[in-house]
């Protein structure tokens, strides 16, 4: 499970999950059937975003099709589309989107609109329009607009935290629950050594996991690491130490494996999934959640990894985030060491 998890996650996020919208099924109701409508339809069909079916639907049929969930959008070309365009210089296309998924609906309509705008710009070029502004766009860091670059840094944060926090806390509480902790405490070994020896295997395990994730993302997802690899490992070690101290802290305040597991879920997994910014954009959240997100270690780690891996930046770009992580690690470590009881209750 510990080694399977990163592999499952990378495959899932890297290959299967994507926020982009591809092959959305749309129906085009072409009442015009003329040159202009045909040209636009050809453009739509040749894009990856849409999977086009042509049909004649009335509003009731559109409603029925949406209710079945077969299609996402309907495009209606009015009769005399081309004639209107040529003679009145103005024609309209109607889009009806199934907005039950608002994200898909807005994305599809904006894709469609930009295709139409392109077509219109071409028409106008032929008519040699005066004063034309030509926007030239460069997509930085991820020219293919793939989903993986956004997800891989998040998966790294997630796996590291999961392994460290949950496993550390559960393994220490397990010793408590089974009574073996007493034996360790009465032995001449100093308590700090007990803690360190609990933490080191998970530190090693996490570094191995990290290596697996990076190898997978470089060789399977073709996602090169643009920045320095040692720096990436150093920063990850800081996150691992933060997570280990948090796990330790949880183990000092819980008594059973079940409750340690629950605390790790609520205290670590949920915030990491929701508030680190890798699944959901932080700027869309209400103020309270935005404030809370500042104390989630994964949030800062996510920024660091993105900067190193994808943008290829050096330490100067991330010293602030690094400092925050170190501060968190120090805070949790002191708190948990002070909380660690060496006496039996």
């Amino acid at each position: 499970m510990l080694f399977g998890l990163p592999i499952v996650q990378i495959t899932m996020f890297g290959f299967a999950l994507t926020n982009e919208i591809k092959n959305a099924k749309i129906v085009i109701v072409d009442n015009a059937q003329d040159l202009a409508s045909q040209q636009i339809i050809n453009k739509i069909e040749s894009s990856d975003f849409f999977y086009v079916k042509k049909a004649m639907l009335n509003p009731t049929q559109i409603d029925a099709a949406f209710k079945k969930g077969d299609i996402k959008m309907v495009v209606v070309f009015p009769a005399n589309f081309n004639t209107d365009l040529l003679h009145l210089n103005k024609a309209s296309i109607q889009l009806i989107a199934d907005a039950s998924d608002p994200n898909t609906a807005t994305t599809l309509t904006s894709y469609f609109t930009s295709i139409v705008n392109d077509y219109q710009a071409n028409l106008n070029q032929n008519a040699s329009m005066p004063y034309t502004i030509v926007p030239e766009v460069r997509m930085l860091y991820n020219p293919d607009l793939a989903g993986a670059p956004d997800f891989v840094p998040g998966v790294m944060a997630m796996v590291l935290l999961l392994v460290c926090v949950m496993m550390t806390s559960v393994s220490i509480v397990r010793e408590k629950e089974m009574g073996t902790m007493e034996i360790l405490l009465v032995s001449p070994v100093r308590p700090i050594l007990v803690i360190i020896s609990k933490a080191i295997p998970y530190l090693v395990l996490s570094i191995v996991n990290l290596t697996v994730i990076l190898l997978l993302s470089v060789y399977a997802l073709q996602l090169p690491i643009k920045g320095s690899v040692p720096l990436l490992f150093a920063e990850s070690t800081i996150l691992i130490i933060t997570a280990l101290s948090l796990g330790l802290l949880i183990s000092t305040v819980t008594k059973t494996q079940q409750s340690a597991m629950f605390a790790s879920m609520i205290g670590m997994m949920l915030p990491t999934m929701l508030l680190s910014g890798y699944l959901f954009p932080i700027e869309n959240m209400p103020l309270v959640l935005r404030l809370i997100s500042n104390i989630v270690p994964a949030r800062w780690y996510y920024i660091i990894v993105k900067n190193i891996m994808l943008k290829g930046l050096g330490f100067t770009a991330i010293w602030r985030e690094t400092l925050i992580l170190i501060g968190m690690a120090a805070f949790f470590l002191t708190l948990s060491l002070r909380n660690f009881k060496i006496r039996l209750e």
Binding site: K22, L85, I93, L95, T113, Q120, V137, G147, D150
Partner: protein, 372 residues
């Protein structure tokens, strides 16, 4: 039937005496339904834009104003130095940099055409493409506007304009809550009841009470029904609680028939409990069950189309998603709650879930052994 009645009595009594369980039953829906929809908002808005204005002319000012007044963009930087703007993208303070070249206005008038440089931080591919599409359409609007101002109207009106009129059905305000809440309700009852069932049986194994049941003349099917029914009831109760929370907090009232929702929920519970049961027959400790469940829950949540569009996944992933009942229920919830789909619309889904339920439960019953 008498042994079954006693078993049910035992299960319910055990359930209500476990304060932690009843607590989770009420608190989990509240936390999940309050926190998740607020955090899980994927709408692209507030795109941060930085402007490098090397021109500082009337036209460039008008263009910037036009872009900012659209409401999609937030100005986070305004300089006349392009190296500064690159820093803004590096620091994630700008998603898009719009660079207006020197003498933009003059060259536009003299050469009849001019270029604008736009740089987009494309790490988040969706935000990049949607943000650029917004910007592109604003710029082309602006272009038409200056033509209208600068040249004789008859030349401008000679250029054909295609007007795209959009209507958003079922959710005209494009509220993201309407989309997320029904889906989250599904993941909620999956977690609460499916998992509890697995843990419950494994716990009996771990503490040894299952042996006491094994030596009684209780039949296999009675034992399993005795476990299934209480958690089935729990699931339906949590489902109702979730519907109430959705109504009170988010004002979401199912457009379709509530009876269809309950019918589907019943069939769904049957399938998901079968899954929990199956897990419990393969594991011996709560720790094992937990690890296994964690993996499955994650795969369920991620591949069911709850957060990311299902149709965009590759074929194999959609196939995997179809093996789990979760994706069907999420789809059906959204269809019935938001669009008011009726029984005929969801029929293809309900019988598949029923089939999955039969397979999982049969498998679990066959795999359950009264001997150790």
């Amino acid at each position: 039937m008498r042994p079954l009645r006693f078993l049910l009595q035992k299960e319910f009594r055990q359930m209500f005496r476990d304060k932690g369980f009843t607590g989770r039953l009420f608190i989990a829906p509240l936390i999940q339904l309050l926190l998740l929809p607020m955090a899980a908002n994927l709408t692209v808005k507030n795109v941060n834009i930085a402007v490098v204005d090397n021109d500082r002319s009337v036209t460039s000012q008008q263009m910037i104003n036009k872009v900012l007044s659209s409401g999609y963009f937030k100005l986070t930087g305004y300089t006349d130095n392009s190296s500064k703007s690159n820093k803004l993208i590096e620091k994630d303070q700008a998603d898009i940099v719009l660079e207006i070249p020197q003498n933009f206005e003059r060259d536009l008038i003299n050469n009849n055409t001019n270029k604008l440089a736009i740089e987009v931080n494309a790490i988040n591919g969706v935000k990049a493409s949607v943000g650029f599409a917004y910007l592109g359409s604003i710029l082309s609007d602006f272009n038409n506007q200056i033509r209208a101002n600068w040249v004789q109207p008859e030349i401008v009106s000679a250029s054909p304009v295609i007007d795209v009129v959009t209507s958003f059905w079922y959710n005209p305000l494009l509220s993201y809550y309407v989309f997320m809440v029904p889906g989250i309700l599904v993941s909620l009852i999956t977690g609460i009841s499916g998992l509890s069932a697995a843990f419950n049986i494994v716990k009996e194994k771990e503490i040894g009470t299952i042996e006491q049941i094994n030596v009684t003349p209780i039949k296999k099917w009675q034992f399993i029904l005795g476990k299934l029914i209480p958690f089935w009831v729990t699931g339906i109760v949590v489902f109702s609680l979730g519907l109430i929370v959705a109504w009170v907090i988010y004002g979401i009232v199912p457009l379709g028939n509530i009876a269809i929702l309950y019918l589907f929920a019943s069939v769904y519970m049957f399938a998901i409990l079968g899954f929990g049961l199956l897990i419990s027959t393969y594991t011996d400790t709560q720790m094992q069950a937990n690890s296994l469940m964690f993996l499955f829950i994650m795969v369920f949540n991620m591949m069911s189309g709850l957060f990311t569009p299902y149709d965009s996944m590759p074929q194999w992933a959609q196939f995997v998603g179809h093996l789990f009942p979760v994706s069907y229920f999420i789809q059906v919830m959204r269809m019935v709650v938001i669009k008011g789909s009726d029984l005929a619309d969801i029929f293809p889904f309900i019988w598949k879930v029923f089939l999955i339920g039969i397979v999982l439960n049969t498998w679990a019953v066959l795999n359950y052994r009264k001997t150790t």
